[in-house]
Amino acid sequence: MSEVINGPVYADVPRPAFRPGVAGTHITLRGLTKYFAGWPLYENLDLDIPKHKITSIFGPNGCGKSTLINMIAGLVPIDSGEILFDGKSLKDTTIGYVFQNYREALFPWMRTIDNIAYPLKLAGHSKAEVDRRMEELVASFDVKFDLRRYPYELSGGQQQTASIMRALAPKPEVLFLDEPFSALDFEMTLFIREKLQEVFIQTGTTMMLVSHDLEEAVYLADQVLLLTKRPTTVAEILQYDDPRPRTVATLTEPNFVATKKRSLEVFQREVRR
């Protein structure tokens, strides 16, 4: 008799067929689930992040904005689900990440220039290639400070500039920015925000930006991803397509004002819920 008498009474749920994102999608999240201390943070989240666009993420406190990009960047493990970059896994994808706390992101035992070159050395590039890329970066960032200094000898804004240069050095396909301006003074925030816009115009790198400043989130964004409270889902995705370079004048354009107003409405609705 070949029949199994006491077979398992459960059956594995078959994985749903992979559903590709809409045209122009760079990062596809499917069935993303993450529990924190037994409570769902994300449950079965599907999301398409567009290519060559800046996506700002905005939402209530503790809804997991940073956790979302950390999961995509592979810094926080996911419980289940799938994240693909143009159909590839993270392992086959070059990414860059800019942390809020630049002091604890750069390596103080390396000179600033070596910090910036570090991802290139990891990738096994030759000295000549590294030097060429460094020259390119220094030129495109118009660096005015001495990169041979150690990071702790630089100002906060200079350190964060170096962090962004380090993240961009290997020409990442996606750049993650976790509240990159929060630890900076206002002058430096404006300066680096402009740098970032400039880099984006030059390279068109897909970016995901977590911000707690709505004006900043909209100003830099092509689309604003608004999240709900826990368990977190997408409240709304707003498209904002004023042309770049955006300037101070953009802040008073009707389109900008409308997008910001709409974002705020959604945000308040979600906070009160």
Binding site: F99, N101, F107, W109, Y150, E187, L190, E198
Partner: protein
């Protein structure tokens, strides 16, 4: 892109007349640098007064001038210098052994937290046991020999080094590790480029307490484990024959050695861990 900064102010900026006419600040002698000398000078004066007034018998406490003279003569001749050098040699040897084994082991244990947790109790227990209490045990193993003194000092220092290095790695800034990981670093690359460097600062704190501990144990061992040389031997020897001048001179020599080692290690630490505290 245009820089947001406002360039150079007009050449000769107007200054309030009061600023131009201000008289140069009165010059003051800078006594601040002499402050560390106050303590020692005060101590020697009190010491001298106490001896002169006869409050403490000269047979128990010789006058400071005599003692310092004995120290200087001893350190220039055969009375103290050879003993000083022997103690220094034993201390460095014990410390060298402790570091050579303790640092790699500590870093390895620290990078594998499960491994560290399994031996944590043993390390903590022996770290908390006064090493001098283990002298009889080491006597049984190594006998009354030179090796014994070095071995027990190395053992005490080793535990401190292991503990501090392991904790240095365990408490490495998580974000720096994350930064390396996101740039695609392998576990080995994270270890050699981040964890190792992160652990250096706490490791040096450990090395400094380890060198002090080594000196303490070496001197104690020289006193009580039959010995023909070393500052500990000299101190006990002088005490037995009531040669107090030599005894105090040898004690001061031991103090100088300890202080010098500490200063030396602070200097090395500042040089290697240049980012510390910044």
């Amino acid at each position: 892109m245009s820089t947001p900064h406002i360039e150079a102010a007009p050449a000769a900026a107007w200054k309030p007349p009061s600023e131009l006419a201000a008289p140069p600040a009165p010059k003051r002698r800078d006594w601040g640098r002499a402050l560390p000398l106050v303590g020692p000078i005060l101590l020697i004066i009190i010491w001298d007064l106490v001896v002169r007034a006869g409050w403490i018998k000269a047979i128990l406490l010789p006058p400071p001038a005599d003692t310092l003279l004995t120290l200087i003569n001893g350190m220039m001749g055969k009375a103290l210098l050879p003993h000083f050098l022997v103690t220094l040699e034993r201390t460095l040897m014990a410390f060298g052994i402790a570091t050579a084994i303790g640092m790699p082991l500590g870093i390895a244990l620290g990078s594998n937290e499960r491994a560290y947790r399994s031996v944590e109790f043993v390390i903590d227990f022996f770290r908390s046991t006064p090493s001098s209490a283990l002298i009889p045990l080491f006597l049984l193993i190594f006998g009354i020999s030179d090796v014994n003194k070095v071995a027990i000092a190395a053992f005490g220092a080793f535990l401190i080094v292991v503990f501090n290095c392991a904790y240095g790695v365990i408490n490495a800034r998580k974000q720096r590790v994350a930064a390396a990981k996101v740039m695609g670093a392998s576990n080995w690359q994270i270890f050699k480029d981040v964890l190792f460097w992160e652990s250096l600062q706490p490791a040096f704190v450990g090395l400094r307490s380890a060198i002090s501990m080594t000196l303490v144990i070496v001197v104690v061992a020289e006193m009580f484990i039959g010995s023909e040389s070393g500052l500990g031997h000299k101190i006990i020897d002088a005490q037995q024959v009531m040669n107090v001048k030599t005894m105090y001179a040898a004690i001061m020599a031991a103090g100088i050695l300890g202080y010098a080692l500490n200063v030396l290690f602070l200097a090395i630490e500042r040089r290697i861990v240049h980012w510390s505290g910044r």
